[in-house]
Amino acid sequence: MSEAKQTDSMLSDDTPVDLKAELEASNVQEVLDKLDRELIGLKPVKTRISEIAALLLVDRLRKKFALSSETPTLHMNFTGNPGTGKTTVASRMAEILHRLGYAREGHLVSVTRDDLVGQYIGHTAPKTREIIKKAMGGVLFIDEAYYLYKPENERDYGAESIEILLQVMENNRDDLVVILAGYKDRMDKFFNSNPGMRSRIAHHVDFPDYSADELLAIAKLMLAQQNYRFSSAGEKAFAEYIPLRMKLEHFANARSIRNALDRARLRQANRLFASSGKKLNKSDLITIEAEDIVLSRVFGEGDKK
């Protein structure tokens, strides 16, 4: 053992390093490609993730040469508006970390404040610990993490939960990766009041909103996954729908698109029923027509504003 270590450190500075072979061995490129294919837009996020993957890969190589021994801090913070793909990216991140050997199981445990914070004294610690134990070997994803800290109520148990999380984030770095997610402004406030949390998080990733074109591409991808498609008139109608919906309140990016498509499918089913005398074929079942979309109340409301 000690002999092996010696030869490692005695390797001369010009020992060749095969980064490409290492990349292929980890199969991580596959996940990154899948991320690129299945997630539309999100350029800065994708760049950031491949940067993190590259860093970890190099770190793994350095470990082979005994240049570093500590596990790097991997805890992350995803900020962005609702429906920008934070949860999806987190589950991909779990897979990337698993392939690189930084998460033994590579599963994602997604929780919110309710799963961590208890309702009475002495309830919070066991509850938080239980979740942490479930997430070990994988990634703990805390959605809307800023709810953990409620400064207006000093008897709130959220702080206790944060304390336990901090301890585990520091001591069990090999076992658990924590990803926090939430709106940018509220997360900033959360970090300002919890400086310990900020210093333990290495990567802050910001998720931008989608543009209308990207949302249309997402809609087409979603439909394809469910074996539907737009007719050309339907696609045009949906392209008109998106900017109108973006102007309305409670717009949640890809999530709103998914809901809109669900409603369009409902109308399509209704239309097919109403046209009962007519013989239907397979293409009727999979096509979303313009009339399934223009009937949306968004067209009425969006025009008024």
Binding site: P126, K133, N172
Partner: protein, 144 residues
Amino acid sequence: MMTNPGNRLTQGQFSFLPDLTDEQISAQIKYALKNGWAVSVEYTDDPHPRNTYWEMFGMPMFDLKDPAGIMMEINSCRKTFPNHYIRVTAFNSIRGVESPTMSYLVNRPKIEPGFGLSRQEGSGRSVHYTIHSYATDKPEGERY
């Protein structure tokens, strides 16, 4: 006659072997988790083989994927009760089994005084035998 040098308690799995290392314990837990068994940590200072009522250290742990969480619990139990017997039990909830399928010691007191054999004269010339742990002469909590 000394058949059990060191008076080491032998119950559950692996108890005739040298104590398991943490890596070995973790590998055994991994096996249990792979089979979908719920693992729990228990402790006692009454080592009689018929003592089935060990105290639970926290709740049984369901839906875990990785042994690290259970190792954390074992270590905190060792810290709280360094001189107790601690065992890890895996519970199989499959219908028809519904019972512990693994159980092994992960911690024992530094000094184990062992068991004495006591004889009782019965009616006629019969003799009843029983074993008695020397440790249980003292009250609970002061035994080791």
